[in-house]
């Protein structure tokens, strides 16, 4: 459905909440019937989160555990369409500037106090700007955020912002209790250790270094839910032990990079286990080789094209990632909105790579080396190490010598933030929309000495213009056209060598039902998850 039609539908529905979206609501309740109550779900959290308040810390493991305790206004289906959560319905004004949400009137905090629109306004206007790295970029676009009544919240934008409807998931807007936090130092509030949320599960116990134990919230606003009595997340730091835990049934669910991919491939074939790669669409990272566009000879587009030709990306996908992934073709993941497939393609060809380097006048010396580049290897697992080694091997064949430099998390982030690298293997969440998670790496206004910005130093005024226009365009068709053009330019200039659209195996006990229902998958509240039989 096009955005305009969708506005029409909303208007045709007349009253708030009677339009198209309650479909999602009925769906949720349909799922809510027929489940089996009871049971404890055991899973793994790795690494251990430092804190369970999602508004204070947005680390991935925090999101996963805290997503059961806290809720946001919306969640998103696997096609990134909004679905209800704390908001039971919403409307967007035809000019794309006013977003009105109706909240669940029965929603309550874990301490029994009602959850109202004041909590939402407080979270977006006061709490998150203090603690959330993306809050200003998103809610800073609002002229006002108001609560006309206890169950209505109105976000008024200064100018339209296409991806705004995509910014209401638990990582962007985890709604916090105003009565606990208002007037306190939110970062040091004791409630951060004993979080009071509104989600289907409450924190019972957290033994650091061992496990996090969540139990059912009996006062959850959806009647009859959640099904599970408890969820236990175990902290298991060793990869072999994690695989063993799934294998012998100690845990019934693993996600993200819990398992080394060779274990994932092996265990997904066990008869009692099922595997899915769905539920990561909101994040949809692309594994890429960032190339420092400032440093000669990497500053030459032909050099970067040669790198694209020299690396066999299918090999990386099949052999290093054990088939979990898809060769990337564009800076936008094919699962993210506004992906454009018709762009310059780069086949694996050592001859083409060499020809491009020759054309540049980059001649090999006696040892066959044309140039030497530095690649700090990030400390995020075996897979990174293997891929970097493969890149070194591949580029050596065309005369580019790669020096791998080992790092730990502190030194790695420091080097990338300071642009102290030639190449960098990395991946970033896309948050469903190019304006939220893609253009930040390519627009020149975002060249900063800070992580997750345009650290490669790519500058193209045309790309800047297209990205800016696309962010504020109201209609999807217009945005698609702008983003398509932008992708064509970027792919031709290769500021970053995109390798593989990553997929993550979620492996689970086949008795588990309704496990992955949305684009945030295992970060979802799990209110409808149950064990069959």
């Amino acid at each position: 459905m096009k955005k305009r039609e969708f506005h029409k539908l909303l208007l045709a529905g007349g009253a708030l909440g009677l339009a198209d979206f309650p479909l999602g609501l009925t769906q949720a309740f349909a799922q809510g019937t027929g489940g089996v109550k009871g049971g404890t779900l055991n899973s793994i959290v790795q690494p251990e989160p430092p804190i369970l308040n999602l508004a204070v810390s947005q680390l991935t493991p925090t999101q996963m555990v805290s997503g059961k305790i806290f809720l946001s206004l919306l969640t998103y289906d696997v096609n990134l369409k909004p679905m209800p959560s704390l908001a039971k319905s919403w409307t967007i004004s035809p000019d794309g500037k006013t977003y009105t949400f109706k909240l669940e009137p029965k929603a309550k905090w874990h301490d029994g106090k009602p959850l109202t629109s004041e909590d939402v306004v407080y979270t977006a206007m006061e709490f998150l700007p203090l603690t959330h790295p993306r809050a200003k970029a998103i809610f800073g676009r609002c002229e006002s955020i108001t609560a006309p009544d206890a169950h209505t919240v109105v976000f008024k934008l200064k100018e339209p912002f296409g991806p705004f409807i995509g910014a209401f998931d638990i990582s962007n807007l985890p709604v916090m209790p105003k009565h606990i936090y208002a007037g306190t130092d939110v970062v040091k509030n004791p409630a951060n250790l004993n979080p009071i949320g509104s989600g289907p599960f409450k924190l019972k116990e957290w033994v650091r270094g061992s496990h996090i134990h969540l139990v059912r919230n009996d006062d959850y606003f959806k009647p009859g839910l959640p099904y599970l009595d408890a969820i236990i997340y175990r902290v298991v730091p060793d990869g072999a032990s994690r695989a063993l835990a799934l294998e012998n049934g100690t845990v019934q669910l693993t996600q993200w990079t819990d398992l080394e991919l060779f274990d994932a491939q092996r265990l997904s074939k066990k008869p009692n286990l099922a595997v899915t790669t769905k539920g990561y669409e909101y994040f949809a990272p692309i594994m890429w080789l960032e190339i420092n566009n400032r440093n000669a000879p990497l500053s030459d587009k032909r050099f970067r094209k040669a790198v694209m030709h020299a690396i066999d990306r299918t090999f990386i996908k099949d052999k290093i990632l054990y088939g979990f992934g898809k060769v990337a073709t564009s800076p936008v993941n094919s699962k993210t909105k506004f992906y454009e497939p018709n762009v310059t393609t780069y086949d694996f060809s050592i001859a083409k790579a060499k020809a491009l380097l020759d054309e540049m006048g980059l001649k090999p010396d006696a040892k066959g080396v044309r140039t030497t580049v530095r690649l700090p290897v990030s400390p995020y697992g075996e897979m990174v190490q293997r891929t970097c080694e493969y890149i070194r091997q591949s580029l050596a064949k065309v005369g580019i010598a790669v020096v791998l430099e080992s790092t730990d998390p502190g030194s790695y982030t420091q080097r990338i933030s300071n642009w102290d690298f030639d190449m960098n293997l990395s991946w970033l969440y896309q948050f469903g929309d190019p304006a939220l998670g893609v253009t930040r790496n390519y627009v020149s206004s975002n060249i900063r000495k800070i992580l997750f910005t345009n650290t490669e130093g790519y500058v193209n005024p045309q790309v800047d213009k297209l990205a800016d226009e696309a962010a504020v365009a109201v209609e999807d068709a217009k945005r698609q056209a702008l983003y398509s053009e932008m992708q064509k330019i970027i792919v031709d200039e290769v500021p970053i060598a995109w390798l593989v659209e990553m997929e993550f195996p979620t492996i689970y006990d086949k008795r588990l039902q309704n496990l992955v229902t949305s684009a945030i998958g295992i970060h979802e509240s799990f209110d409808t998850v149950y064990f069959k039989g």
Partner: protein, 329 residues
């Protein structure tokens, strides 16, 4: 008599003063060392959050006190150390002391069990091998000790898990206790012991091998001493010679080694704790290093250095008990 007692007290005072000075020097050194590592907690946090902005980094640095000049930070830190305040982990939102105390029981349980296993096993096996030097049992024990000593401890742990947890199903593969069930006190203790068995045995093995080898050579050395020959000449039985004459003297090198290791044992073993998902201090420290959680790092380092110094002193005292000829303060 009175004078001697006073002298002893004076010596103790000097020793205490030295210990305090060493702790302060270590504290300063730790501070410098920790800051020499590239990157800071704000950057690590940003790296893990998947997004960031300058204001966020600035807020985190201000909150952690990292925006102050380095000498001010050092002075603040030392001021706290003097007041026995280990500081506050902003990352975990709690005091360093509570973070350490929370991990201490699990660590003590693991390391003390391993220590006991290794000390008793090592002394017994080493003595056996020593008195039967050159015989088959000596060769077997020495070979075993050598093999264990040369085996990477994480591999040994994984192999034990494969055997006892996967193949035989006797013992749990990892964890500290069974989670999410309520048990009677007795069942709870049995459950903990079952979880403890593999990690304690694995960690104990490494030290057992060291002590066994040490004890063996020590026994052999002592057995050539004149007083042992005299005992033998006067017709004392082998067991009496071993128990009454040799053991005490042969123990000294083992006590020295054990004394040095006792202090560091409290720090836990990162490898064993990782393989067996044991919630001990070793992993707390390791995570703190990776996350640049300066306060936790400094806190653990300080506690450990105090413990090492304390155990060194205790070892000196123990020498005196074992061998009254040695004078110690």
């Amino acid at each position: 008599m009175n004078l001697q007692w006073l002298q002893g007290l004076g010596a103790l005072g000097v020793r205490l003063a030295k210990m305090v000075a060493v702790v302060l020097l270590i504290a300063i050194f730790n501070f410098m060392l920790v800051r020499a590592a590239p990157g800071d907690p704000a950057l690590v946090m940003a790296g893990q959050s998947g997004a960031t902005d300058e204001a966020f980094l600035k807020r985190v640095r201000a909150e952690y006190g990292l925006d102050q000049p380095m000498p001010t930070q050092l002075a603040t830190y030392l001021g706290k150390v003097v007041r026995l305040d280990l500081g506050y982990s902003h990352r975990q939102q709690r005091t360093v002391l509570s973070a350490i105390l929370e991990r201490l029981p699990a660590t003590l349980l693991l390391t003390l069990s391993a220590f006991a296993i290794s000390l008793v096993g090592g002394v017994v096996l080493g003595s056996l091998a020593g008195v039967r030097a050159g015989k088959l049992s000596d060769t077997l024990i020495s070979l075993l000790a050598l093999v264990i000593y040369a085996t990477p401890v994480f591999w040994l742990g994984l192999m034990l898990v494969l055997l006892f947890s996967v193949q035989l199903g006797w013992l749990p593969a990892f964890g500290y206790e069974t989670i999410g069930v309520t048990m009677s006190t007795w069942a709870g203790i049995v459950d903990k012991l079952k979880h403890l068995a593999l990690p304690a045995f694995t960690l104990g093995m490494l030290y057992l091998a060291i002590y066994a080898r040490l004890m063996r050579s020590s026994i052999i050395e002592v057995s050539h001493q004149d007083y042992v020959k005299t005992a033998r000449a006067k017709g004392a039985s082998d067991s009496r010679i071993l128990w009454r004459h040799m053991l005490r003297n042969a123990l000294l090198p083992v006590v020295t080694m054990a004394g040095v290791q006792a202090g560091t044992l409290i720090g836990g073993s990162v490898v064993i704790e990782t393989v067996f998902a044991w919630p001990g201090l070793g992993r707390l420290t390791y995570d703190a290093v990776l996350q640049r959680d300066y306060q936790v790092m400094l806190g653990v380092f300080l506690v450990l250095s105090v413990l090492v110094i304390f155990f060194n002193w205790l070892t000196d005292l123990l020498y005196r008990v074992i061998d009254p000829r040695i004078k110690a303060a």
